[in-house]
């Protein structure tokens, strides 16, 4: 989830080459109101977004009982916000631009190695 289309598309392509399926959302409300199956293995989200921030969303998910792994991917360097995210049980706090290996490692941890696709095409 990111309000920036270029970021969304880039991350989505990274998922695809890795062999993961993914959906993109341009805002927290769009994600929350998505009529489709909402049982994702992991959420990668930006923090600063118009309407509802990534932290607000995480808070709301946790309040709603969701323990979905959430990776915060942001350019916000605010340590308080980071602490709050981790406190709310965020999987990871990564800063943009992120190295793909770092992101994929966190993703692998979140999903579990058993569910991780074999390296496609190898």
């Amino acid at each position: 989830m990111d309000d920036d289309e270029a970021i969304r598309e880039a991350l989505c392509d990274l998922m695809m080459v890795t062999g993961l399926g993914c959906s993109t959302f341009d805002s927290a409300p769009a994600f929350l109101n998505d009529p489709g199956p909402n049982d994702f293995d992991c959420l990668i989200t930006d923090v600063r977004m118009p309407g509802m921030s990534g932290i607000d969303l995480l808070e709301r998910m946790r309040t709603g009982g969701s323990d979905m792994p959430v990776i915060m991917l942001t350019s916000v360097l605010d340590s308080n916000t980071r602490a709050r995210a981790l406190e709310l049980g965020a999987q990871a706090w990564l800063t943009k631009p992120v190295a793909d290996d770092a992101l994929l490692d966190q993703l692998k941890t979140a999903i579990g190695a058993e569910d991780w696709p074999d390296e496609p095409g190898r």
Binding site: V17, R48, M52, G121
Partner: protein, 656 residues
Amino acid sequence: MIIFDTEGAVHYWNPASEALYGWPALTMIGRGIGHLSTRSENEREHWRMLLQEGTWQGVVSRRTPSGIHIAVDIRQYVRFAQDGTPRDVIEYGRQSLSDGAVPGADWHIPDRLMAASWEIDVSASDALIATIARLRDEAAAEAQLNARYKDLVKAARIVNVNERTMRLVGGNRGRDLMIGQPVSGFWPLESRATLGELIVDAMTGKTEDATYRRQMPSDGILRDPLVTVWRAETHGRIYAAVNGTVDDDRSYVYLRASEARYRKLVHHMPIALWQVDASHMGRIYNDIRASGVTDFGAYLDEHPDLVELAATTVQITDVNRAAVQLLGGASALDLMRPVGYLFTVNRRSLHNVMIGRFNGQANYEEITKVETLDGRVLDVRMSVTYPKVLAELDVTIFSFEDVTERMSMEAEIRQLQADFTHAARISTLGELTTSIAHEINQPLAAIVTNAETSLRWLSRDDPNVEKVKALTARIAASGRRASDIVQHIRGMASKRQPERVATDLNEIVQESLIFIRHEIESQSIGIRTNLARGLPSTMADRIQLQQVVVNLLINSVQAVEAHSAGKREICIDTHRTENGALAFTLRDTGPGIPPDDIDRIFEGFFTTKEAGMGIGLAICQSIIAEHGGSISASNHPGGGAQFRFVIPVEAPDGSA
């Protein structure tokens, strides 16, 4: 009426007699009336009859100063003393009707009775007169003679003058102060040589009674004055009478004093003045105008030789002290040359001055440059006052005011303003660091991820070239986006002189939003824009206008941020006003401006922010003013602050 004693010596000579005979009273009192008559035989008989009868009536012939004789009907009565002896004779006379053919008409100018009469003592100048007579025989140069004539007038002393003379040249000093003084002190400079010449004529003339006359140049008091000089009976004395129509009721002295005051005033005026005689150019202009030329500027472009003619032939006839000082001359003489030297740096200015004269303007003014005699170049405000079309004198006045210092000061102020504006932009950029970093970081993040994804596609056993192509295209797009943002920042950060180019106000608003977008989004502030379509572009400095919009936006974001309650929104609107100007309005849902602050909000260094310098809005105002527009702040009736600026589509200097 004349009264003379029994010896014929005149005791009284009234103005009517002055009019009739042409001889001023001054020259007649004390003289024998007989010397005006030539028929001495008849005179003797007439005299005998008069004394015997006590009365006489008849026609006499009398000589006028012009040398002709007129016939006069006279009646004479003897007045007797108490002891019965004849005391004096009263004579009434008028020009004989039978004497119609007498050519004395030149004396019949209406106010000739107003002749200014002088009795002058030249007895001390016998030697000088003899020298002049010798020089004349040797046919000496005119200049040499003129100098001697003037010496003679300087040496000549006033013995007596009549009322008119006193009034014309004596001012309020009275006769006593004139008597004994040199004639030259009261005689117009231009005609002193003439008087001297006539004095020599009279003193060296063979005939005792001969009169010598000369027309003098008009002096502003008398029109076509005629001076007549003749020898008095007393040795070394001469009489002079000046006739002429009075042109100006003010006395010559008054005029002279007035002119002297004027000259003094001009001379001491702190502004540099040049007096120029361009009369011959006036005649040339008349000829050109008569040939149908109306666009004189174009005509001069085709005939640059005419400008050169003016430069080399239009003579400066006078300059004042300030002019000498301004151009660094040693004396006025250094500047009394043809006008060309005033236009060595900017010949075009002379061209403009000529057009003003041709077009019959009253004056002309421009800022130009002039080179001083010692080679410095000054910025000057040149003002030209042309002669009135119908004025007798063709005098053009140039004034030059040194504005070099002012111009350099203005340039300094402009520089200072630019520095300030720049500093404010940097400070604004400082406030926007987070937003800017975010704005650049976004495309960079996309680029990095896309690049790494591409590598993954390429390192697979079945490289997906199509996918890599698409990703590379996205990399390029994100790269361009980052580059655009950097360019905007560079524009805001760069130090440069403002420049006016055709600018689209809506584009400015959209670009400014890029800077501020992150701030807005992170504060969850809604932006509503209502940008009018088809707005004309305005001549503006893009970066400065952007600075204004960004500044106003930051203000609003901070206001909304501080105001936790209610809707968080900023509304931006652009439109064209009824006058065709461009208007930008920004309204926020913040707490509004405290009413006490509204009047001061655009003042320099006014701030309500703890960390603010208070130059943001002041600079907004100066930028908008520079663009010929205005900016205002108010509180919206529905809450929140509203800022509005209006700028003309055309630049203030008139360029479209």
